[in-house]
Amino acid sequence: MPPGRVKAVIGPNGAGKTTLFNLVTGFLIPDAGRILSLGAEIQGEPAHATAARGIARTFQLVQLFDHLTVLENVMVGRHRLTRAGMLAGALRLPRARREDAAIRRDAWEALEMVGLAVRAHQPAAALPLGLKRLLEIARALAAQPILLLLDEPASGLDPVETERLGEMILDLKARGVTVLLVEHDMSLTMEVADDIAVLNYGRLIAEGPPRAIQRHPEVIAAYLGTDWQG
């Protein structure tokens, strides 16, 4: 996958899209084959180590830290890029304080960018679903990922929110983040993706730019009977 592109993975239910995500992010260990990122083999690595390489993700079912505030959720996102240990933090050593202030500032900025700053001090559990998805993305972005995996980010969003999501993805692309997207919303996928890969039963059946995919016979066959509009 070339950097700075948006690639979408589509396919019917059970095609293996989420499994692919779990493999890439280290939550599942592959039986065979290799996973490469930036030239390094990352299969079999624990999830936190993969994340430390700059691969961030969101989840099909939103996974926020419910008891933390909106702001704190994003602050945890900065974990990858910060260092202060337990002692330094608990003793409020100057470098830990400086780092914490920076984390807080960056998190604020991230929240302002997605328009969640007004809710910064609410517990994350109190947000409506659309905003939860937004927060999850903001949290993942706070880790300044090189590769961002979005697992059905538009599900549960209304059209306006979906449109804002699309803009956000394009904006990320402009900033050089590589995005891997699993999505059922075809109009969103067609709008933002540079490339689309179609999976069915764990097998890659087609790959290419959106226009070509739309006309691919095997893809149409796989989707027959589902709401496929393009």
Binding site: T25, G26, F27, P46, A47, H48, A49, A51, A52, A56, R57, F59, Q63, L64, F65, D66, H67, L68, E72, N73, M75, V76, G77, R78, H79, R80, T82, A84, G85, M86, A88, G89, A90, L91, R92, A96, E99, D100, I103, V118, R119, H121, Q122, R139, A140, A143
Partner: protein
């Protein structure tokens, strides 16, 4: 102005300084010292239970390791009490580390059962190891601490040391949970998966906090040994571990100040209520069940939540910005 007056740290410091003015009886100072020691234990356990969402049913064992390391080494007069205290920390910390490695990788149940077993074993060792521990009848003749030549040999003198430790550890804990590591800790409690996806090394973090809470317990144990000058295994049995869990639950999980409250309440009540002593075990069991069933965020927090909800209903429900 009110904000300044209600600053919990100022209130705490004022309380610690003012209480000696009102209390004269040495018995009450002993009780206050015990409350302080329990608070240290409960804050440590709360870091593990309330914040990281892991449980230890054998915390009395770490308390006991600290107490007996201090007790054995100082009663024999081999070692300076402060050095013994440090050695106690090393012993407890290593024990927690060794147990933590295998069990923290697994689900919470394993940790609970393994710590329960560890508690039982340490208790057995304390009873069986007559030669060192004095067996069931206990270990006598533990000297008092002294600070720069000034002996802390009365409950009143020790009071300031104990409560300084309490204050420092409360501050340490409050800072910790509000730091980078503390946020990661609370995050893994809510969703371990999501925390991992953000590069939080959850297994290591759980181990760290488990060891830290064992260190708190060990420190409390050493202070306890020097407070009473006598220790016996019965103070470190499984029931005591469960009492500690109850204190956490009553004070509120994930609440630093609640730990102080929970420790104080459950230390003071049995002293003054005869029926509490008689039915102690049943009462602790009932508290654990009722609070966790109906107010899983703890008694104090739970009641506050309930009050707030009623308040909001009557006010007409405004969302705070």
């Amino acid at each position: 102005m009110t904000r300044l007056l209600l600053n919990p740290w100022l209130l705490f410091a004022a309380g610690v300084l003012l209480v000696p003015q009102a209390v004269t009886n040495q018995y009450y100072f002993t009780l206050l010292n015990i409350i302080g020691i329990h608070t240290i234990l409960v804050v440590g356990l709360n870091l593990l239970m309330g914040y990281a969402g892991q449980i230890s049913l054998g915390h009395a064992a770490f308390f006991g390791l600290g107490a007996y390391t201090s007790g054995i080494l100082t009663a024999a007069g081999v070692v300076n009490p402060w050095l013994a205290l440090l050695l106690g920390l090393v012993v407890s910390g290593s024990a927690a580390f060794l147990i933590g490695i295998p069990v923290l990788k697994l689900r919470g149940y394993y940790l609970a059962m393994a710590t329960l077993g560890f508690g039982v074993i340490i208790f057995i060792v304390l009873v069986q190891g007559h030669r060192f521990t004095g067996g069931p009848s206990g270990l006598h003749g533990i000297p008092s601490l002294s600070l720069g030549g000034f002996p802390l040999d009365t409950p009143f003198r020790l009071y300031f040391l104990v409560w300084t430790c309490v204050g420092l550890l409360l501050a340490f804990s409050a800072n910790l949970v509000d730091s980078r590591v503390g946020r990661a800790l609370r995050a893994l409690h809510d969703s371990e998966t999501a925390a991992q996806s953000l590069a939080v090394h959850t297994a290591r973090l759980k181990l760290q906090i488990f060891v830290l809470s064992a260190l708190y317990a060990s420190l409390a144990g050493s202070l306890y040994a020097h407070t009473l000058n006598f220790i016996a295994p019965s103070s470190f049995d499984i029931m005591f571990s469960i009492k500690l869990v109850t204190m956490v639950v009553v004070g509120g999980m994930a609440s630093i100040w609640g730990s102080l409250l929970g420790a104080a309440t459950l230390t003071v009540l049995p002293e003054f209520l005869a029926f509490f002593q008689e039915f102690e075990v049943v009462i602790y069991g009932a508290i654990l069940m009722v609070v966790m069933i109906f107010l899983p965020r703890g008694l104090v927090r739970g009641l506050m939540d309930l009050w707030e909800r009623r308040h909001r209903l009557t006010e007409g429900g405004t969302t705070p910005g």
